[in-house]
Symmetry: C2
Subunit: 262 residues, 2 copies
Amino acid sequence: VKRPIGLFDSGLGGLSVLIEIRKLLPNESLLYVADSKYCPYGEKDEEFLRRRAGIIGEFLLEEGCKAIVVACNTATAASVGMMRQRFKVPVVAVEPAVKPAAARTRSGVVGVLATRTTLQSEAYAQLLIRHAAGIEVLGADCPDWVAAVERGETGGSAAESLVAERVQPLLARGADTLVLGCTHFPFLRSAIEAAAGAQVTVLDTGEAVARQLQRRLGDLHLIEDAANLPSHRFVTSAPSAHTESFLRAVWPDLADIETFPR
Amino acid sequence: VKRPIGLFDSGLGGLSVLIEIRKLLPNESLLYVADSKYCPYGEKDEEFLRRRAGIIGEFLLEEGCKAIVVACNTATAASVGMMRQRFKVPVVAVEPAVKPAAARTRSGVVGVLATRTTLQSEAYAQLLIRHAAGIEVLGADCPDWVAAVERGETGGSAAESLVAERVQPLLARGADTLVLGCTHFPFLRSAIEAAAGAQVTVLDTGEAVARQLQRRLGDLHLIEDAANLPSHRFVTSAPSAHTESFLRAVWPDLADIETFPR
Protein backbone atom coordinates (compact mmCIF):
# COMPACT_ATOMS: atom_id res chain seq x y z
CA VAL A 1 0.00 0.00 0.00
CA LYS A 2 1.36 3.42 -0.95
CA ARG A 3 1.28 6.02 1.80
CA PRO A 4 -0.72 9.18 1.10
CA ILE A 5 0.13 12.83 1.69
CA GLY A 6 -2.14 14.27 4.38
CA LEU A 7 -3.47 17.81 4.16
CA PHE A 8 -5.80 19.79 6.39
CA ASP A 9 -7.53 23.15 6.61
CA SER A 10 -10.44 24.71 8.48
CA GLY A 11 -12.56 23.95 5.42
CA LEU A 12 -12.23 24.01 1.67
CA GLY A 13 -9.54 26.70 1.31
CA GLY A 14 -6.68 24.22 1.49
CA LEU A 15 -7.91 22.74 -1.77
CA SER A 16 -6.09 25.67 -3.43
CA VAL A 17 -2.90 24.04 -2.13
CA LEU A 18 -4.05 20.53 -3.04
CA ILE A 19 -4.56 21.66 -6.66
CA GLU A 20 -0.92 22.77 -6.87
CA ILE A 21 0.33 19.57 -5.26
CA ARG A 22 -1.69 17.46 -7.70
CA LYS A 23 -0.13 19.33 -10.64
CA LEU A 24 3.42 18.82 -9.42
CA LEU A 25 3.06 15.35 -7.88
CA PRO A 26 0.37 13.64 -9.98
CA ASN A 27 1.13 10.11 -8.77
CA GLU A 28 0.60 10.76 -5.08
CA SER A 29 -2.30 9.53 -3.01
CA LEU A 30 -3.94 12.39 -1.13
CA LEU A 31 -5.96 12.50 2.08
CA TYR A 32 -7.58 15.87 2.86
CA VAL A 33 -9.25 16.74 6.16
CA ALA A 34 -11.63 19.72 6.19
CA ASP A 35 -12.28 20.75 9.79
CA SER A 36 -15.49 22.46 8.70
CA LYS A 37 -17.17 21.97 12.07
CA TYR A 38 -14.83 24.65 13.46
CA CYS A 39 -14.65 26.88 10.39
CA PRO A 40 -13.59 29.70 10.34
CA TYR A 41 -10.32 29.09 12.22
CA GLY A 42 -9.56 32.82 11.86
CA GLU A 43 -11.75 33.68 14.84
CA LYS A 44 -10.50 30.92 17.19
CA ASP A 45 -7.73 31.29 19.75
CA GLU A 46 -4.36 29.65 19.19
CA GLU A 47 -4.62 27.14 22.00
CA PHE A 48 -7.82 25.74 20.51
CA LEU A 49 -6.19 25.58 17.09
CA ARG A 50 -3.20 23.68 18.47
CA ARG A 51 -5.58 21.14 19.98
CA ARG A 52 -7.34 20.65 16.64
CA ALA A 53 -4.01 20.39 14.79
CA GLY A 54 -2.94 17.71 17.26
CA ILE A 55 -6.13 15.69 16.81
CA ILE A 56 -6.07 15.93 13.01
CA GLY A 57 -2.34 15.20 12.83
CA GLU A 58 -2.85 12.02 14.90
CA PHE A 59 -5.58 10.92 12.51
CA LEU A 60 -3.39 11.53 9.45
CA LEU A 61 -0.57 9.44 10.94
CA GLU A 62 -2.95 6.65 11.90
CA GLU A 63 -4.07 6.64 8.26
CA GLY A 64 -0.44 6.10 7.26
CA CYS A 65 0.40 9.53 5.84
CA LYS A 66 4.07 9.99 4.91
CA ALA A 67 3.90 13.79 5.20
CA ILE A 68 1.54 16.45 6.57
CA VAL A 69 0.69 19.66 4.73
CA VAL A 70 -0.80 22.33 6.95
CA ALA A 71 -2.90 23.88 4.19
CA CYS A 72 -4.14 26.73 6.37
CA ASN A 73 -2.27 29.92 7.30
CA THR A 74 -4.07 30.34 10.61
CA ALA A 75 -3.30 26.78 11.72
CA THR A 76 0.31 27.24 10.61
CA ALA A 77 0.77 30.42 12.64
CA ALA A 78 -0.66 28.71 15.71
CA SER A 79 0.80 25.24 15.51
CA VAL A 80 3.51 24.40 12.99
CA GLY A 81 6.26 24.27 15.62
CA MET A 82 4.14 22.06 17.85
CA MET A 83 3.40 19.72 14.93
CA ARG A 84 7.05 19.47 13.88
CA GLN A 85 7.95 18.74 17.47
CA ARG A 86 5.28 16.09 17.90
CA PHE A 87 4.99 14.31 14.56
CA LYS A 88 7.90 12.47 13.04
CA VAL A 89 6.98 12.88 9.35
CA PRO A 90 7.79 16.01 7.29
CA VAL A 91 5.39 18.83 8.14
CA VAL A 92 5.10 21.36 5.32
CA ALA A 93 3.23 24.58 6.02
CA VAL A 94 2.05 27.80 4.43
CA GLU A 95 3.31 31.25 5.35
CA PRO A 96 2.23 34.58 3.84
CA ALA A 97 4.54 35.50 0.93
CA VAL A 98 5.96 38.53 2.75
CA LYS A 99 9.54 37.87 1.70
CA PRO A 100 8.83 37.74 -2.08
CA ALA A 101 6.51 40.73 -1.68
CA ALA A 102 9.23 42.76 0.04
CA ALA A 103 11.60 41.89 -2.81
CA ARG A 104 9.08 42.87 -5.48
CA THR A 105 7.38 46.04 -4.22
CA ARG A 106 8.45 49.34 -5.79
CA SER A 107 6.24 51.58 -3.71
CA GLY A 108 7.57 50.04 -0.49
CA VAL A 109 4.01 49.30 0.63
CA VAL A 110 2.66 45.74 0.77
CA GLY A 111 -0.84 44.62 1.73
CA VAL A 112 -1.38 41.31 3.47
CA LEU A 113 -4.87 39.84 3.27
CA ALA A 114 -5.32 37.27 6.05
CA THR A 115 -7.44 36.26 9.00
CA ARG A 116 -7.47 38.20 12.23
CA THR A 117 -5.82 35.35 14.15
CA THR A 118 -2.99 35.17 11.62
CA LEU A 119 -2.39 38.93 11.70
CA GLN A 120 -2.36 38.99 15.49
CA SER A 121 -0.11 35.95 15.85
CA GLU A 122 3.44 35.96 17.17
CA ALA A 123 4.48 33.95 14.10
CA TYR A 124 3.31 36.75 11.80
CA ALA A 125 5.04 39.44 13.87
CA GLN A 126 8.28 37.46 13.67
CA LEU A 127 7.84 36.99 9.91
CA LEU A 128 7.69 40.78 9.51
CA ILE A 129 10.78 41.24 11.66
CA ARG A 130 12.75 38.78 9.52
CA HIS A 131 11.59 39.73 6.05
CA ALA A 132 9.97 43.16 5.95
CA ALA A 133 12.64 45.52 7.31
CA GLY A 134 12.15 48.93 5.71
CA ILE A 135 8.87 47.92 4.05
CA GLU A 136 5.48 49.20 5.15
CA VAL A 137 3.24 46.17 5.60
CA LEU A 138 -0.50 46.80 5.89
CA GLY A 139 -2.40 43.88 7.37
CA ALA A 140 -6.07 43.64 6.40
CA ASP A 141 -8.22 41.08 8.13
CA CYS A 142 -10.99 40.00 5.81
CA PRO A 143 -14.07 39.05 7.78
CA ASP A 144 -16.53 36.95 5.79
CA TRP A 145 -14.12 36.10 2.96
CA VAL A 146 -13.61 32.57 4.26
CA ALA A 147 -17.36 32.12 4.72
CA ALA A 148 -18.00 33.41 1.19
CA VAL A 149 -15.59 30.83 -0.27
CA GLU A 150 -17.16 28.09 1.84
CA ARG A 151 -20.57 29.01 0.41
CA GLY A 152 -19.08 28.87 -3.07
CA GLU A 153 -19.52 32.62 -3.60
CA THR A 154 -16.21 33.17 -5.32
CA GLY A 155 -17.45 35.36 -8.16
CA GLY A 156 -20.26 37.72 -9.05
CA SER A 157 -21.13 41.14 -7.73
CA ALA A 158 -21.44 40.07 -4.07
CA ALA A 159 -17.92 38.63 -4.04
CA GLU A 160 -16.59 41.64 -5.95
CA SER A 161 -17.96 44.21 -3.55
CA LEU A 162 -16.93 42.13 -0.51
CA VAL A 163 -13.37 42.06 -1.84
CA ALA A 164 -13.21 45.65 -3.09
CA GLU A 165 -14.13 46.95 0.36
CA ARG A 166 -10.89 45.57 1.84
CA VAL A 167 -8.63 46.02 -1.18
CA GLN A 168 -9.44 49.69 -1.91
CA PRO A 169 -8.00 51.12 1.35
CA LEU A 170 -4.75 49.22 0.75
CA LEU A 171 -4.41 50.73 -2.73
CA ALA A 172 -5.27 54.17 -1.36
CA ARG A 173 -2.34 53.83 1.05
CA GLY A 174 0.05 52.98 -1.78
CA ALA A 175 0.20 49.18 -1.82
CA ASP A 176 1.47 47.83 -5.14
CA THR A 177 1.73 44.21 -3.98
CA LEU A 178 -0.94 42.11 -2.28
CA VAL A 179 -0.21 38.90 -0.41
CA LEU A 180 -2.92 36.26 -0.14
CA GLY A 181 -2.24 35.17 3.45
CA CYS A 182 -5.10 32.65 3.67
CA THR A 183 -5.44 29.53 1.55
CA HIS A 184 -9.12 30.31 0.93
CA PHE A 185 -8.29 33.53 -0.91
CA PRO A 186 -6.85 32.11 -4.17
CA PHE A 187 -10.46 31.11 -4.91
CA LEU A 188 -11.26 34.86 -4.83
CA ARG A 189 -8.25 35.75 -6.99
CA SER A 190 -10.18 37.03 -9.99
CA ALA A 191 -12.30 39.33 -7.79
CA ILE A 192 -9.13 40.52 -6.02
CA GLU A 193 -7.33 41.19 -9.29
CA ALA A 194 -10.36 43.02 -10.64
CA ALA A 195 -10.43 45.25 -7.55
CA ALA A 196 -6.67 45.81 -7.55
CA GLY A 197 -6.09 46.50 -11.24
CA ALA A 198 -3.33 45.33 -13.53
CA GLN A 199 -0.58 47.44 -11.90
CA VAL A 200 -0.80 45.46 -8.68
CA THR A 201 0.93 42.11 -8.12
CA VAL A 202 -1.05 39.44 -6.28
CA LEU A 203 1.02 36.71 -4.62
CA ASP A 204 -0.02 33.40 -3.17
CA THR A 205 1.96 30.44 -1.90
CA GLY A 206 0.31 27.26 -3.19
CA GLU A 207 2.90 26.53 -5.84
CA ALA A 208 5.85 27.26 -3.53
CA VAL A 209 4.41 24.90 -0.93
CA ALA A 210 4.00 22.16 -3.54
CA ARG A 211 7.64 22.57 -4.58
CA GLN A 212 8.79 22.48 -0.97
CA LEU A 213 6.83 19.28 -0.41
CA GLN A 214 8.38 17.79 -3.55
CA ARG A 215 11.88 18.62 -2.24
CA ARG A 216 11.23 17.16 1.20
CA LEU A 217 9.76 13.94 -0.20
CA GLY A 218 12.54 13.73 -2.80
CA ASP A 219 15.21 13.93 -0.09
CA LEU A 220 13.53 10.98 1.63
CA HIS A 221 13.00 9.01 -1.61
CA LEU A 222 9.27 9.02 -0.98
CA ILE A 223 7.96 10.25 -4.34
CA GLU A 224 5.70 7.86 -6.25
CA ASP A 225 6.25 7.18 -9.94
CA ALA A 226 3.65 6.59 -12.66
CA ALA A 227 3.31 2.93 -11.61
CA ASN A 228 1.30 4.10 -8.60
CA LEU A 229 -2.43 4.43 -9.01
CA PRO A 230 -3.18 7.26 -6.58
CA SER A 231 -6.15 7.13 -4.23
CA HIS A 232 -7.92 10.33 -3.21
CA ARG A 233 -9.88 10.84 0.01
CA PHE A 234 -11.77 13.82 1.42
CA VAL A 235 -12.81 13.75 5.07
CA THR A 236 -14.81 16.51 6.75
CA SER A 237 -15.85 17.15 10.35
CA ALA A 238 -19.11 18.79 9.13
CA PRO A 239 -20.42 17.98 5.66
CA SER A 240 -22.50 20.71 4.08
CA ALA A 241 -24.63 21.01 0.95
CA HIS A 242 -22.07 23.30 -0.68
CA THR A 243 -19.19 20.91 -0.11
CA GLU A 244 -20.20 18.51 -2.83
CA SER A 245 -20.58 21.04 -5.62
CA PHE A 246 -17.33 22.76 -4.58
CA LEU A 247 -15.48 19.45 -4.66
CA ARG A 248 -16.96 18.46 -7.98
CA ALA A 249 -15.46 21.61 -9.48
CA VAL A 250 -11.96 21.41 -8.04
CA TRP A 251 -11.41 17.70 -7.35
CA PRO A 252 -13.31 15.77 -10.02
CA ASP A 253 -11.61 12.41 -9.41
CA LEU A 254 -12.92 12.20 -5.87
CA ALA A 255 -15.28 9.28 -5.16
CA ASP A 256 -17.10 10.25 -1.97
CA ILE A 257 -17.19 12.41 1.14
CA GLU A 258 -16.19 10.79 4.44
CA THR A 259 -16.88 12.03 7.93
CA PHE A 260 -14.24 12.94 10.50
CA PRO A 261 -15.76 12.11 13.86
CA ARG A 262 -13.29 13.73 16.26
CA VAL B 1 16.39 63.64 32.69
CA LYS B 2 17.89 60.18 32.33
CA ARG B 3 15.68 57.63 30.64
CA PRO B 4 14.80 54.55 32.67
CA ILE B 5 14.78 50.88 31.70
CA GLY B 6 11.20 49.56 31.71
CA LEU B 7 10.37 46.06 32.92
CA PHE B 8 7.12 44.21 33.29
CA ASP B 9 5.70 40.92 34.51
CA SER B 10 2.34 39.49 35.54
CA GLY B 11 3.30 40.28 39.11
CA LEU B 12 6.37 40.16 41.31
CA GLY B 13 8.30 37.38 39.56
CA GLY B 14 10.11 39.74 37.22
CA LEU B 15 11.83 41.21 40.25
CA SER B 16 14.18 38.20 40.00
CA VAL B 17 15.32 39.73 36.70
CA LEU B 18 15.40 43.25 38.11
CA ILE B 19 17.76 42.09 40.87
CA GLU B 20 20.25 40.84 38.25
CA ILE B 21 19.95 44.03 36.19
CA ARG B 22 20.57 46.16 39.26
CA LYS B 23 23.75 44.18 40.04
CA LEU B 24 25.14 44.58 36.52
CA LEU B 25 23.87 48.09 35.74
CA PRO B 26 23.78 49.86 39.11
CA ASN B 27 23.47 53.37 37.68
CA GLU B 28 20.30 52.81 35.71
CA SER B 29 16.88 54.19 36.55
CA LEU B 30 14.29 51.41 36.61
CA LEU B 31 10.53 51.43 36.07
CA TYR B 32 8.78 48.15 36.87
CA VAL B 33 5.15 47.39 35.99
CA ALA B 34 3.49 44.49 37.84
CA ASP B 35 0.29 43.55 36.02
CA SER B 36 -1.02 41.93 39.19
CA LYS B 37 -4.66 42.54 38.27
CA TYR B 38 -4.29 39.80 35.63
CA CYS B 39 -1.93 37.51 37.54
CA PRO B 40 -1.29 34.66 36.81
CA TYR B 41 -0.57 35.17 33.10
CA GLY B 42 0.07 31.43 32.83
CA GLU B 43 -3.64 30.67 32.56
CA LYS B 44 -4.53 33.41 30.04
CA ASP B 45 -4.68 32.97 26.27
CA GLU B 46 -2.02 34.48 24.05
CA GLU B 47 -4.22 37.05 22.39
CA PHE B 48 -5.13 38.55 25.74
CA LEU B 49 -1.46 38.59 26.73
CA ARG B 50 -0.50 40.40 23.52
CA ARG B 51 -3.12 43.05 24.31
CA ARG B 52 -1.70 43.57 27.79
CA ALA B 53 1.88 43.67 26.46
CA GLY B 54 0.79 46.34 23.99
CA ILE B 55 -0.87 48.47 26.68
CA ILE B 56 2.04 48.18 29.11
CA GLY B 57 4.62 48.78 26.37
CA GLU B 58 2.82 52.00 25.35
CA PHE B 59 2.91 53.15 28.97
CA LEU B 60 6.63 52.43 29.31
CA LEU B 61 7.41 54.42 26.15
CA GLU B 62 5.22 57.32 27.29
CA GLU B 63 7.27 57.32 30.49
CA GLY B 64 10.42 57.70 28.38
CA CYS B 65 11.92 54.22 28.74
CA LYS B 66 14.98 53.59 26.57
CA ALA B 67 14.53 49.81 26.57
CA ILE B 68 11.87 47.28 27.53
CA VAL B 69 12.59 44.08 29.43
CA VAL B 70 9.83 41.48 29.17
CA ALA B 71 10.52 39.98 32.60
CA CYS B 72 7.96 37.20 32.17
CA ASN B 73 8.37 33.97 30.20
CA THR B 74 4.66 33.65 29.44
CA ALA B 75 4.45 37.20 28.05
CA THR B 76 7.62 36.59 26.04
CA ALA B 77 6.27 33.43 24.43
CA ALA B 78 3.06 35.24 23.49
CA SER B 79 4.29 38.65 22.45
CA VAL B 80 8.00 39.35 22.01
CA GLY B 81 7.78 39.41 18.20
CA MET B 82 4.80 41.73 18.32
CA MET B 83 6.61 44.06 20.75
CA ARG B 84 9.78 44.14 18.65
CA GLN B 85 7.66 44.90 15.62
CA ARG B 86 5.70 47.65 17.31
CA PHE B 87 8.11 49.40 19.67
CA LYS B 88 11.22 51.12 18.41
CA VAL B 89 13.40 50.67 21.51
CA PRO B 90 15.39 47.50 22.30
CA VAL B 91 13.07 44.77 23.63
CA VAL B 92 14.95 42.21 25.73
CA ALA B 93 13.08 39.09 26.76
CA VAL B 94 13.42 35.89 28.75
CA GLU B 95 13.40 32.40 27.28
CA PRO B 96 13.74 29.09 29.14
CA ALA B 97 17.42 28.03 29.27
CA VAL B 98 16.84 24.98 27.08
CA LYS B 99 19.99 25.48 25.03
CA PRO B 100 22.41 25.59 28.01
CA ALA B 101 20.48 22.70 29.59
CA ALA B 102 20.88 20.58 26.44
CA ALA B 103 24.62 21.31 26.46
CA ARG B 104 24.96 20.41 30.13
CA THR B 105 22.80 17.32 30.68
CA ARG B 106 24.57 13.96 30.93
CA SER B 107 21.48 11.83 31.31
CA GLY B 108 19.94 13.38 28.19
CA VAL B 109 16.82 14.26 30.15
CA VAL B 110 15.96 17.87 31.01
CA GLY B 111 12.99 19.14 33.03
CA VAL B 112 11.43 22.51 32.23
CA LEU B 113 9.36 24.10 35.00
CA ALA B 114 7.07 26.72 33.49
CA THR B 115 3.48 27.85 33.16
CA ARG B 116 0.93 25.96 31.12
CA THR B 117 0.65 28.78 28.55
CA THR B 118 4.42 28.81 28.05
CA LEU B 119 4.63 25.03 27.60
CA GLN B 120 1.76 25.02 25.11
CA SER B 121 3.06 27.98 23.11
CA GLU B 122 4.35 27.84 19.56
CA ALA B 123 7.42 29.78 20.73
CA TYR B 124 8.32 26.99 23.17
CA ALA B 125 7.76 24.27 20.54
CA GLN B 126 10.09 26.13 18.19
CA LEU B 127 12.68 26.56 20.95
CA LEU B 128 12.75 22.77 21.41
CA ILE B 129 13.12 22.22 17.65
CA ARG B 130 16.09 24.59 17.52
CA HIS B 131 17.93 23.62 20.67
CA ALA B 132 16.85 20.25 22.03
CA ALA B 133 17.47 17.80 19.17
CA GLY B 134 18.24 14.39 20.65
CA ILE B 135 17.42 15.49 24.19
CA GLU B 136 14.34 14.38 26.08
CA VAL B 137 12.65 17.48 27.44
CA LEU B 138 9.99 17.01 30.10
CA GLY B 139 7.73 20.02 30.53
CA ALA B 140 6.09 20.38 33.92
CA ASP B 141 3.47 23.05 34.40
CA CYS B 142 3.47 24.20 37.98
CA PRO B 143 0.00 25.29 39.02
CA ASP B 144 -0.01 27.47 42.16
CA TRP B 145 3.72 28.17 42.15
CA VAL B 146 3.19 31.71 40.85
CA ALA B 147 0.43 32.30 43.38
CA ALA B 148 2.65 30.99 46.20
CA VAL B 149 5.41 33.44 45.26
CA GLU B 150 2.88 36.29 45.03
CA ARG B 151 1.73 35.47 48.56
CA GLY B 152 5.34 35.50 49.70
CA GLU B 153 5.33 31.77 50.45
CA THR B 154 8.76 31.06 49.07
CA GLY B 155 10.03 28.89 51.89
CA GLY B 156 8.82 26.61 54.64
CA SER B 157 7.13 23.26 54.51
CA ALA B 158 4.17 24.38 52.35
CA ALA B 159 6.49 25.68 49.62
CA GLU B 160 8.70 22.61 49.93
CA SER B 161 5.90 20.12 49.45
CA LEU B 162 4.33 22.19 46.64
CA VAL B 163 7.67 22.11 44.82
CA ALA B 164 8.59 18.51 45.56
CA GLU B 165 5.33 17.29 44.05
CA ARG B 166 6.36 18.57 40.60
CA VAL B 167 10.10 17.98 40.85
CA GLN B 168 10.01 14.34 42.01
CA PRO B 169 8.41 12.91 38.83
CA LEU B 170 11.05 14.67 36.71
CA LEU B 171 13.85 13.10 38.75
CA ALA B 172 12.13 9.72 38.57
CA ARG B 173 12.22 9.98 34.77
CA GLY B 174 15.95 10.70 34.77
CA ALA B 175 16.20 14.49 34.61
CA ASP B 176 19.60 15.75 35.79
CA THR B 177 19.02 19.37 34.78
CA LEU B 178 16.07 21.59 35.66
CA VAL B 179 15.23 24.80 33.83
CA LEU B 180 13.36 27.55 35.65
CA GLY B 181 11.11 28.68 32.81
CA CYS B 182 9.17 31.28 34.76
CA THR B 183 10.67 34.39 36.37
CA HIS B 184 8.72 33.73 39.56
CA PHE B 185 10.55 30.46 40.17
CA PRO B 186 14.00 31.77 41.18
CA PHE B 187 12.26 32.89 44.39
CA LEU B 188 11.55 29.19 45.01
CA ARG B 189 15.10 28.14 44.15
CA SER B 190 16.09 26.89 47.58
CA ALA B 191 12.96 24.71 47.80
CA ILE B 192 13.63 23.43 44.28
CA GLU B 193 17.27 22.65 45.05
CA ALA B 194 16.25 20.92 48.26
CA ALA B 195 13.81 18.73 46.33
CA ALA B 196 16.23 18.04 43.49
CA GLY B 197 19.38 17.27 45.50
CA ALA B 198 22.97 18.29 44.85
CA GLN B 199 23.42 16.11 41.74
CA VAL B 200 20.89 18.14 39.77
CA THR B 201 21.73 21.43 38.04
CA VAL B 202 19.13 24.20 38.30
CA LEU B 203 19.31 26.88 35.58
CA ASP B 204 17.63 30.25 35.38
CA THR B 205 18.06 33.14 32.99
CA GLY B 206 18.09 36.36 35.02
CA GLU B 207 21.82 36.96 34.76
CA ALA B 208 21.97 36.15 31.03
CA VAL B 209 19.13 38.61 30.40
CA ALA B 210 20.93 41.32 32.35
CA ARG B 211 24.07 40.75 30.27
CA GLN B 212 22.10 40.85 27.05
CA LEU B 213 20.50 44.13 28.11
CA GLN B 214 23.95 45.51 28.94
CA ARG B 215 25.20 44.57 25.45
CA ARG B 216 22.21 46.11 23.69
CA LEU B 217 22.44 49.36 25.66
CA GLY B 218 26.22 49.43 25.23
CA ASP B 219 25.89 49.16 21.43
CA LEU B 220 23.59 52.19 21.52
CA HIS B 221 25.77 54.13 24.00
CA LEU B 222 22.87 54.28 26.43
CA ILE B 223 24.54 53.05 29.63
CA GLU B 224 24.61 55.49 32.53
CA ASP B 225 27.78 56.10 34.51
CA ALA B 226 28.18 56.74 38.22
CA ALA B 227 27.31 60.43 37.73
CA ASN B 228 23.66 59.38 37.33
CA LEU B 229 21.55 59.21 40.44
CA PRO B 230 19.12 56.43 39.49
CA SER B 231 15.41 56.71 40.21
CA HIS B 232 13.38 53.60 40.97
CA ARG B 233 9.63 53.22 40.36
CA PHE B 234 7.22 50.34 40.95
CA VAL B 235 3.77 50.49 39.36
CA THR B 236 1.10 47.82 39.83
CA SER B 237 -2.35 47.28 38.31
CA ALA B 238 -3.59 45.74 41.59
CA PRO B 239 -1.77 46.55 44.83
CA SER B 240 -1.99 43.86 47.50
CA ALA B 241 -1.01 43.61 51.13
CA HIS B 242 1.83 41.21 50.29
CA THR B 243 3.33 43.50 47.69
CA GLU B 244 4.83 45.90 50.18
CA SER B 245 6.61 43.34 52.32
CA PHE B 246 7.88 41.52 49.23
CA LEU B 247 9.25 44.75 47.80
CA ARG B 248 10.87 45.75 51.06
CA ALA B 249 12.86 42.51 50.96
CA VAL B 250 14.05 42.60 47.35
CA TRP B 251 14.01 46.29 46.42
CA PRO B 252 14.86 48.26 49.56
CA ASP B 253 15.62 51.56 47.80
CA LEU B 254 12.08 51.89 46.51
CA ALA B 255 10.11 54.90 47.77
CA ASP B 256 6.48 54.05 47.10
CA ILE B 257 3.97 51.93 45.20
CA GLU B 258 2.17 53.57 42.26
CA THR B 259 -0.98 52.39 40.55
CA PHE B 260 -1.25 51.43 36.89
CA PRO B 261 -4.74 52.37 35.83
CA ARG B 262 -5.04 50.67 32.41
